[in-house]
Amino acid sequence: SGPPREKKRWLRAYLEMQRLQAPPKRRSEQPNWDYHAEIQAFSHRLQENFSLDLLKTAFINCCYIESEEARRRELGVDKDAVALSLQDNTRLAEQGLRFARAYLTQCFESAYPNLPAKGVEALVNYLTGQELVSFVAKNLSLQDLALCRDFPAPPQVLQRTFLAVIGALLESSGSERTGIFVRDFLIPQLIGKDLFEIWEVVNPMGLLVEELTKRNISAPEPRITRQLGVSTVLPVYFVGLYCDKKILAEGPGETLLAAEEEAARVALRKLYGYTENRRPWDYSKPKQGLAAQKAISSN
């Protein structure tokens, strides 16, 4: 009897500490979550029409199916009574990967016709590689929607989910729209990147000599163009490469060898058309449906 007993003073601080120290939970396990609404909002956010079943399949990873089956076995639920009829996203992911690679290869071959096959392959590998795709997926909130066993989802799973989303879009809307989607989300990640950051070239001078022989130009002759601070700790040498007494490229470096290598790299960038002051990528709407697109979709 009497007024109800007050809570102790330390209780509030203790509860706050517990809340802060609790391990982070998936967004799907926190309050206020509606999977169907989130998936609809996802498709509207990307301004694409997805067929929702394909999209839901795209988010299911195999580790999720295994963990669900293990959980059901532990809880003792009979397998036949509650059948787990969920499809994997591996098929969609493979389709998406194949399409993305083919489309990106075609884009780069038409935009940089002088770039050799190895360079194009290096660019495509970078754009479909784990880090970049998982970064794009995280910023599109795929880590909330993807169903996976571990939390937070590892980058491999995010990459697979994103490629599965591309595969689902391919099956729902066709190759043209999926091509525009891939162009809009993956190609801007190349802005500000240099060609040789992405493509590891061990011997740029040898590659340059090969390129020049293909174009029937004589071998380059390196000459020192400018030099500063030769006898100091930080010298700067500018080495220019001359073909038939005409300047091809000029590059700076700390030592003469480094400067020559840098000049070879600058020359390669000029030859392949991947300089810093090239025309930016064309993101306008494609006017006509290319026949090549259909060729890709039949791959």
């Binding site: 909002a41 956010r45 400018r226 220019g240």
Partner: protein, 130 residues
């Protein structure tokens, strides 16, 4: 393409408190229109008595922003959430410079040796005027 950075809005208000009157009016009248106009934002409405009415906005880069809507009219709440919907999830701090470019120099950045002639240029004798 444009991707709206706002993921979801959660409205938490109590069904009986006096300062949540604007929130209740908003949910009855304007929430459906807002949801129709912004199909890429998920709206959650959950009643919770005892706390101040607030709206929590979650963005694609993970930031969660909470705004109090106590004693606000329905129109003010609409204005507030349109503002939240058009923001990105970046922190609201002082912007150092209002411009940015990915290609800072077109002809090549200046360095102390740009306009100096190279060692290889040969200075010939001056030609006599003809």
């Amino acid at each position: 393409r444009y991707v709206r950075q706002l993921q979801r809005l959660q409205f938490l208000f109590s069904p009986t408190a006096a300062d949540a009157r604007g929130a209740r009016q908003f949910v009855e009248e304007a929430a459906q229109d807002f949801a129709r106009q912004h199909p890429d934002v998920v709206l959650y409405v959950s009643p919770c008595s005892g706390t101040a009415p607030l709206v929590r906005a979650e963005y694609l880069n993970g930031t969660v922003r909470e705004e109090l809507i106590a004693s606000k009219t329905s129109e003010e709440i609409v204005q507030l959430i349109t503002k939240l919907a058009n923001q990105s999830g970046l922190d609201i701090i002082r912007i150092r410079k209002p411009f940015h470019t990915d290609n800072p120099s077109v002809q090549g950045q200046w360095h102390p040796l740009t306009n100096k002639p190279s060692i290889l240029t040969v200075q010939g004798p001056r030609l006599q005027p003809q």
